[in-house]
Amino acid sequence: MLVRYLLAAVAILLAGCDPAPRPMVLISNPWLGTAPIINTSVVAPASLPDNLKIIRLVSDSSLSRMLSNKAAAGAFLSLSNALSLNTLSENSYCIAMITARSIGADAILARHDWQVDSQDTIRVGMEDSHLARYVLNQWLQHHGVSQERIEIQALQPQQQAAAWTGHKVDLIVTYEPFIEPLRHRGAKVIFDSSHPTMHVTNVLLVDRTRWQLFEPLVSDFRERTWPQTLKRLAGDDADFMQGLQKLSNYNSEQLAKALDTIEFVTSAEQQQAFRQLLQEDMPKAIAAYEATGAAQQAAVLGACPNIVEQAL
């Protein structure tokens, strides 16, 4: 009886000592497709699951670094970048959610008077990311331009305007909300993700080793936060939209126009989107990735456990 009582007392004492759950940190690049998520954490933090922290980084390279060094458990990023990270990390990630498709939000801009037919070297300013290479490679293939003519200049998105103004580059591979500022400086979009050959899908990539721990959080995010976010976005919630403008430095018109180039995938569409991603987009992305010469064989990205229904 004594031993039983002591064990009960200890159990009661230790029951209050549950370890504080380690917060799940998700990161994103400044792409406008992830801005609503960042905005929700700013405008309506209660909509986010507890212990979920979402940070917007300034570039894909920063994102890749934070993800690679395990500072973040997951990231909102393009399928191309995801495939690259997964291949480099030897299949350490899985896809937990499909958030959006870029139907024009990724683009290549050039000066108005720039002609692709010239045999001159083409100076391209872009982020050091596979998405940028993918976009550029698709443009090169479309126009039959040799890669030897390309001279890459790594530019962070916030550096692009200065490089453009200083005529240091001929082309800039970028994405919203950095397209409009370049347009404002006289650049024009010569190729974007709305092109039929382009398939740019944004996904939530999660460290496979931490998936089991964070699956409830992701599930909560997908089933609660994400619909509320899209609802606010669709409902033109003034506060939400105002926050979104501040994050993008766009006015309402620019924002609306930019948002038109993004197709958000709702929670209800997740299964269909995964089906399309895994059956259609993934093979293409792998092929494109391998075509860039980054790796001979890309590591196939799969859906995280329990995400995709068995029928798939």
Binding site: L6, L13, L14, I38, V42, V43, L57, S62, M66, K246
Partner: protein
């Protein structure tokens, strides 16, 4: 408190105590572990924050130094990836924003942080260049202020910007994954183990002994005993001592109770009545003896004053002394006259004592009272018995002596008094025949007659000296001795006449005579005792003279009496010392052959030589001494008979007094069995006086012995009781002609008697024995009358010792 509630049990209390202590220990342990871990976590967090910011500080400095400010936003945003960094920004000491993480700016959290930070801290960090990390427990975060060098100029002192970062650090609950499980488990096990050991130890050395003691006390309460095996005698602590003391106490209590029980029983069962009162004198306790004596029950007297018993005869001064003693704390002893419930007075010897408590204070009075009424009565009775004969209720010898002594003291010169002693004749024989009860009635009647006679004589004094010896004492008075003696003889004669009158005892008319002895005093003796003794001598003289006579004491009486007394005394001694001898005298046939012998006794006196039976048998026959002598003769004679060859017979003389004794038949049978003698050759010779009275008893005894084969002979036939009727009634076989007739055989008249006796014997079929045959003529005459006659006398042989008899007659026969 008859029973204990569950929580009052020592086992529960000990368990609760141990569990409580263990709980506190475990809780304290947990608290200190958590506290230590949180302390460590905070230190670690600070170290992590400091090291992270140190790197960031270097990066920012280098960005500014190398003009790479474009990367500042990137680094700011990357800082936010850290799970605990919720804000990071570069500001001026005056809180102007240089580089921020825009979402936080939009959310307002950065502004809140900046408002929280005191400007002084920012200034100090900027001025000193030293990083500052402060923990704000109320906000559960660290605030770090790290100086960042924005530019480097020669001309002026650089004013650093500041990297401000908010690092969340909630005092998180216990981190199980960081728990030092091994030592913790070890410690927990040690604590629990110690607790269990403590619990078991307390159980073994405290709880169980306490239970055992409680059980022992309960057992003692129920049964009054304690099983020592159940006591905790072996535990090494005070409980063992407690158990030992309890056992000791129980034993002492049992001893005290036993003692108390014994005392109580002694008081309850005491024959003395015991009463206890309070100090006010009210009765609080009485024992059964009190109730038995007084008739009052305990309930009737409790609370009442003992004076309810008072008869009023106890002197008032006795009560005063009683209370005086008690008030002085002393014991009072005295006699109380009390009264029973039914009013009967009784006397008590009371011992009344104060009872004291342990402090010596008198709390009660205890009275122990012995009912002495019976004792006083018994003493009076004893006194009466000492001075009076209980049967006749006359003064006894002692009284008589005292009375006589008093008379002697008062006697004056020339005054003479008379003492007359009366001794009933034949009372002994009457006792033997009718029994003592009958004799007692005769004595009472005699006493009544004497008492009545005494009343007729002035100043006379009647006493009953012995059973059948009465005294009439006449006080001294003046007068001539001769006249007084004459008057006394007249009074004695009258008294004897009164006594001789027949008396009706148990419907039987009895006539009894008395002998009287008279003495004149004080001339014959000067002491009362001597006077009485001389009077007795005179009585004996009168009795010796045949009874129913009066003898006046003469000095010569005393001499004769002394002689008789001496013979009697020495004869008794002779029986024991073996001085008596058995002699045998041959009995012959007319043809001269031996037919048997008669056993005769001789006394071989150590000084006077052989003494004839004529000298002592007469004296012995006056007392029961004759029975003792007869018993000795029978025993010795039967031994001799067993030695005589058949068909020789042996005749033994039996005194009438001896024959009448109760148990005579059994005595003879016992000697026959002891000696092995043939009863059919035994002849018991009795005299005619045996048949004077109570012939029925005599006849029964004779017939009883005859059945065994014993024959009876009438000795000295014709010299005594001359009734011939008994010859037919009694079982006789032989007539013995007295030697006086035989030795006078020459006288024709005597010869006619002999002839008649022979004729009677012949006609009745009896054998005839003639004794005292001394001449041949006598023998021839007798043989001529009866050829079967047995002859005995000196002609044939004198009585001779048995050895000589055997040598002369028996050995020759063989």
């Amino acid at each position: 408190m008859r029973t204990l509630s569950w929580w009052q049990h020592l086992s529960v209390q000990v368990t609760a105590l141990v569990v409580g202590v263990l709980t506190v220990m475990v809780a304290g342990l947990a608290y200190f572990l958590i506290e230590a871990q949180q302390q460590e976590a905070r230190v670690n967090a600070e170290i992590e924050l400091r090291s992270g910011l140190t790197v960031a500080q270097g990066s920012f400095n280098r960005m500014y130094f190398y003009q790479r400010q474009v990367a500042i936003d990137e680094l700011i945003s990357e800082l936010h990836v850290h799970p605990r960094i919720s804000n990071a920004a570069i500001i001026t000491p005056s809180k102007e924003l240089i580089a921020v993480y825009q979402p936080n700016l939009l959310a307002g959290t950065l502004t809140t942080l900046l408002n929280e930070v005191e400007p002084g801290q920012l200034q100090k960090a900027a001025e000193t260049g030293a990083s500052m990390i402060v923990f704000h427990p109320q906000h559960q975060h660290f605030v770090a202020i790290v100086p960042i060098l924005e530019q480097f100029t020669f001309s002026q002192q650089p004013t650093p910007n500041l990297l401000i970062a908010e690092y969340l650090h909630a005092p998180a609950w216990y981190q199980l994954n960081t728990v030092p499980w091994l030592p913790l488990v070890f410690m927990f096990v040690a604590v629990v183990g110690a607790g269990i050991l403590l619990w078991f130890g307390l159980q073994r050395w405290a709880v169980i002994p306490a239970k055992q003691l409680l059980a022992a006390m309960n057992q003692f309460g129920r049964t009054g005993v304690v099983d020592s095996k159940q006591l905790p005698m072996r535990v090494p602590n005070e409980f063992a001592m407690l158990g030992y003391k309890l056992r000791l106490s129980v034993r002492e209590r049992q001893q005290r109770e036993n003692k108390l029980r014994q005392l109580s029983a002694a008081v309850e069962q005491a024959s003395e009545s015991i009463m206890m009162t309070d100090l006010a004198g009210n009765i609080t306790y009485v024992n059964p003896a009190f109730t038995e004596v007084t008739g009052y029950s305990s309930a009737e007297v409790k609370g009442k004053n003992p004076r309810l018993l008072a008869s009023g005869r106890t002197p008032a001064k006795d009560y005063q002394q009683l209370w005086q003693c008690l008030q002085q704390g002393k014991t009072w002893r005295g006699e109380l006259y009390n009264r029973t419930k039914d009013g009967k007075e009784f006397r008590e010897w009371a011992t009344i004592s104060p009872l004291r408590d342990q402090k010596g204070r008198v709390t009660k009075y205890l009275a122990s009272k012995l009912n002495i009424t019976q004792r006083v009565e018994a003493e009076a009775k004893l006194e009466y018995l000492a001075y009076y004969n209980p049967l006749t209720e006359l003064p006894n010898r002692v009284s008589c002596n005292q009375h006589l002594a008093r008379l002697l003291e008062k006697a004056e010169a020339k005054q003479f008094g008379i003492v007359a002693l009366f001794d009933l004749d034949g009372l002994q024989r009457l006792n033997d025949v009718r029994g003592f009860a009958f004799g007692d009635l005769v004595l009472k009647e005699t006493a009544d007659r004497l008492r009545h006679q005494g009343v007729q004589i002035n100043n006379s004094y009647i006493a009953n000296l012995d059973s059948d010896k009465f005294a009439l004492v006449l006080p001294p008075r003046r007068g001539s001795r001769k006249d007084l003696l004459r008057q006394a003889k007249q009074v004695v004669a009258e008294t004897l006449a009164i006594l001789n009158d027949s008396m009706l005892i148990q419907g039987e008319k009895v006539s009894i005579t008395a002998s009287a002895g008279i003495i004149v005093y004080p001339e014959s003796a000067e002491s009362a005792d001597t006077i009485i003794r001389h009077a007795e001598t005179a009585v004996h003289t009168a009795k010796a003279n045949g009874g129913n006579q009066t003898a006046v004491y003469d000095v010569s009486y005393s001499t004769e009496l002394e002689h008789r007394f001496e013979i009697e005394r020495e004869l008794r001694a002779a029986i024991d010392s073996g001085d008596l001898r058995l002699y045998l005298q041959a009995q012959m046939s007319t043809t001269g052959s031996l037919l048997g012998a008669e056993a005769l006794i001789r006394w071989q006196h150590p000084e006077r030589g052989l003494i004839s039976p004529a000298e002592f048998i007469g004296i012995a026959e006056q007392t029961d001494l004759i029975a003792d002598i007869g018993d000795w003769v029978i025993s010795q004679a039967l031994i001799e008979l067993s030695k005589l060859p058949e068909p020789l017979t042996l005749a033994i003389n039996i005194s009438p007094r001896h024959f009448r004794k109760y148990g005579f038949v059994e005595q003879v049978e016992r000697h026959l069995a002891h000696s092995g003698a043939d009863a059919s050759r035994l002849i018991l010779e009795v005299t005619e006086n045996l048949f004077v009275d109570n012939t029925a008893d005599i006849k029964d005894k004779m017939q009883a012995l005859q059945k065994r084969g014993v024959a009876f002979s009438i000795d000295d036939f014709g010299t005594g009781y001359s009734s011939l009727a008994y010859l037919r009634k009694l079982p006789l076989q032989e007539l013995k002609i007295d030697k006086a007739f035989v030795q006078s055989i020459d006288d024709p008249s005597q010869r006619a008697i002999i002839d008649s006796i022979i004729a009677i014997a012949t006609n009745l079929g009896f054998r005839t024995v003639a004794e005292g045959v001394e001449t041949k003529a006598q023998a021839d005459y007798l043989a001529g009358k009866d050829k079967a006659m047995v002859l005995q006398g000196y002609l044939f042989a004198k009585p001779q010792p048995t050895a000589e008899f055997h040598q002369r007659f028996v050995n020759n026969l063989n």
